[in-house]
């Protein structure tokens, strides 16, 4: 029997058998591809809506002893701040914020009016909770309004002394953001390629472990090894089935992302994400070389661990290891370059993000990423084949 025929028989059996394994199906076809994108879209949606709502919402402020600063209260009301008067002393104000009864409290000291009239710095005490993410943005807005009030008073005082208030602004900074809408959304969706690669690897992990460690534990591996079939054919057939599940998982993930991102509503923020059928197909093609790499790595782990449980406990590492370069790149803010393209998973990450950015990388970049990843996959497959030839494979 030819090696190829044996390989295809093993592939067909592994593929069919795992189609009947609920655990494989759930991780490969449901959990990764659907839950991932849905969670992702929901998170982004929440963030966008929160940001949008915060800008429109009237700013709530509790003021204690507002009667000591009537002019300030008028200014706040004019600036759209919804002031409520509260009768709290200093400690009560602190407690009210600490216990989240009030998002923030402005406490006006007794001497405020006197010091303001004298032209010396008049104290105001603003109680906020910087750790409370929900109220932090509004507190920041309030600080800006208070600073504006202070600046307005300063301008009036300078003017009263016959000096041009412009001397208070020696430098005028203009903030110009040059990022394109597509580039901005890539920043926001930077984790997208990570999720795609991760779900792809997850799609194959159960099959890879089951096809080696599981077979050993059930005693079927020994029977399989008595057959007149080269062990390399068994190994490659199992790896091919693992890759097939990874690609199915990846395809479903890409489709789910493509559909869901249409509903996220990024356009309202001047962001567009370039994710049509052609782009989706290229994302899948770019990720393909990573599938045999992951399959070989998982098979190595399954072949040298003694039990299915032990293999399972390595599972987390096996899934995360291939995506580690990507995590580092994210935290270091790396940009695509030829040497970096040769790092598996990092190269795929750059290819995907640049594609979504509508700034495709030149062909040598693509070739290097594909070639280097396939080379590492071949090396790992050779190691797996060596482990498959060991007598210790049977445990």
């Amino acid at each position: 029997m030819s090696m190829l025929r044996a390989l295809l028989i093993v592939f067909a059996k592994e593929f069919r058998e795992n189609l009947r394994e609920r655990r494989t199906l759930v991780t490969a076809l449901i959990l990764g591809p659907l839950l991932g994108p849905v969670l992702f879209a929901a998170l982004i949606n929440l963030q966008i809506h929160r940001g949008a709502a915060a800008a429109d919402r009237p700013l709530a402020l509790a003021v204690a002893h507002g009667e000591r600063a009537p002019h300030l209260l008028a200014y706040l009301a004019q600036s759209g701040v919804a002031v409520t008067a509260v009768g709290l002393d200093r400690d009560a104000a602190r407690h009210a914020v600490a216990l989240h009864r009030e998002p923030r409290v402005l406490w006006v000291p007794e001497e405020f009016g006197r010091l303001l009239a004298q032209g010396t710095p008049a104290p105001l005490e603003l109680y906020t909770d910087a750790a409370d993410v929900g109220s932090a943005a509004d507190s920041e807005r309030l600080r800006a309004i208070l600073a504006q009030y202070s600046a307005t008073l300063a301008h009036l005082r300078i003017l009263a002394r016959g000096i041009d208030p412009l001397v208070l602004n020696p430098v005028a900074v203009q903030d110009v953001d040059v990022s394109t809408p597509a580039a901005r959304s890539v920043l926001l969706l930077g984790a997208l390629s990570y999720l795609m690669l991760l779900t792809m690897l997850m799609g194959g992990v159960y099959l890879a472990i089951d096809a080696t460690a599981g077979e050993r534990e059930r005693g079927t591996l020994e029977a399989l090894l008595t057959l007149p079939v080269p062990r390399a054919a068994l190994l490659l057939g199992k790896m091919l089935a693992t890759c097939a599940y990874m690609v199915i998982s990846l395809t479903l993930t890409v489709v789910a992302f493509a559909v869901l991102l249409r509903f996220v509503g990024l356009e309202r923020f001047g962001m567009s994400i370039n994710f049509g059928a052609a782009v989706g197909l290229r994302v899948i093609l770019y990720c393909l070389p990573l599938a045999p790499l992951g399959a070989a790595l998982m098979t190595i782990v399954a072949a040298f661990t003694r039990t299915y449980r032990e293999a399972q406990s390595w599972l987390g590492l096996v899934i995360v290891l291939p995506t580690l370069p990507l995590v580092f790149a994210g935290s270091l803010g790396l940009r695509p370059s030829l040497p970096l393209m040769s790092v598996p998973s990092l190269g795929q990450h750059f290819l995907i993000t640049s594609l979504l950015r509508a700034e495709p990388l030149p062909p040598p970049y693509v070739a290097l990423s594909v070639g280097a990843t396939l080379a590492v996959a071949a090396l790992l497959t050779l190691i797996a084949a060596r482990l498959y030839r060991r007598e210790a494979l049977l445990g």
């Binding site: 028989i9 059996k13 069919r16 058998e17 795992n18 394994e21 079927t220 007598e391």
Partner: protein
């Protein structure tokens, strides 16, 4: 025909098999008898090419397990200990998978599987998923899997483990029928009754070496014992 010549196998410091020689002829049932840990399974694993011998040679119908392991494997049907089968496949699919990997053409594999299902009286479980099979159903499936390519030689490692009496009896009938059809049957057991009820030839193994070989009568006569069981106990007691 299965021949072993001075097979040796070590696992680290432990010499599991030491210069084991034996012959299992065609048309004979040969029993490998020995206590637990005597080296029975290791010997069989060397013969069915899952382990490689450190020294010595084994031939399956003249094909060397060392220099032509695939050729040797092609001439063997093997029932490993435990009789593991795929729980997510039906019994029939389990059998067909091995038929295909043995290179049996598709149509022939299907027909042969039907034949084996009838022969082993497993119509009831043939198209059920193997998850939850009884030990008897598992052994039958594994046995059918070992026979599907009509091998000339059959190696069975403790085939009767966990079987009830009717299942053991039907297994005996099957092995005898295979013998009468000219097959070479080699099986291991630590159960005396099993071996004396079934075997034409016995190889007694202890501490990794062959202690005696011959027909049950010959072995009993040589050790001066009443029967095979006495002979076995004496041989094992005398082993180093």
């Amino acid at each position: 025909m299965i021949e072993a010549r001075a097979l040796c196998k070590r696992f680290g410091p432990v010499a599991a098999v030491r210069e084991v020689s034996l012959t299992a002829a065609d048309g004979r049932i040969t029993g490998l008898l020995g206590p637990n840990g005597a080296g029975k399974s290791t010997t069989l694993r060397l013969l069915y090419t899952v382990l490689r011998p450190d020294a010595g040679e084994a031939l399956i119908d003249g094909s060397s397990v060392r220099s032509a392991p695939l050729e040797a494997a092609r001439r063997l049907g093997v029932l490993p200990s435990g009789a593991g089968i795929y729980p997510n496949l039906t019994a029939r699919e389990n059998i067909l998978y091995f038929a295909h990997l043995q290179g049996v053409p598709r149509g022939e594999a299907r027909a042969r599987t039907v034949e084996l299902v009838r022969m082993l009286e497993m119509e009831e479980c043939a198209d059920r998923r193997a998850r939850g099979f009884s030990q008897g159903e598992r052994v039958k499936t594994a046995l059918a899997r070992a026979l599907v390519h009509r091998p000339r030689n059959l190696i069975l490692d403790e085939p009767t483990n966990g079987l009830d009496v009717p299942a053991v009896r039907s297994l005996r009938r099957l092995l005898k029928a295979l013998r009468d059809a000219g097959h070479c049957v080699l099986f291991s057991s630590h159960v005396m009754q099993e071996v004396s009820a079934l075997c034409d030839e016995v190889v007694v193994i202890g501490a990794g070496t062959v202690l005696a070989a011959g027909t049950p009568g010959e072995i009993a006569a040589r050790t001066g014992a009443e029967g095979l069981e006495d002979a076995f106990v004496r041989l094992i007691g005398a082993a180093p």
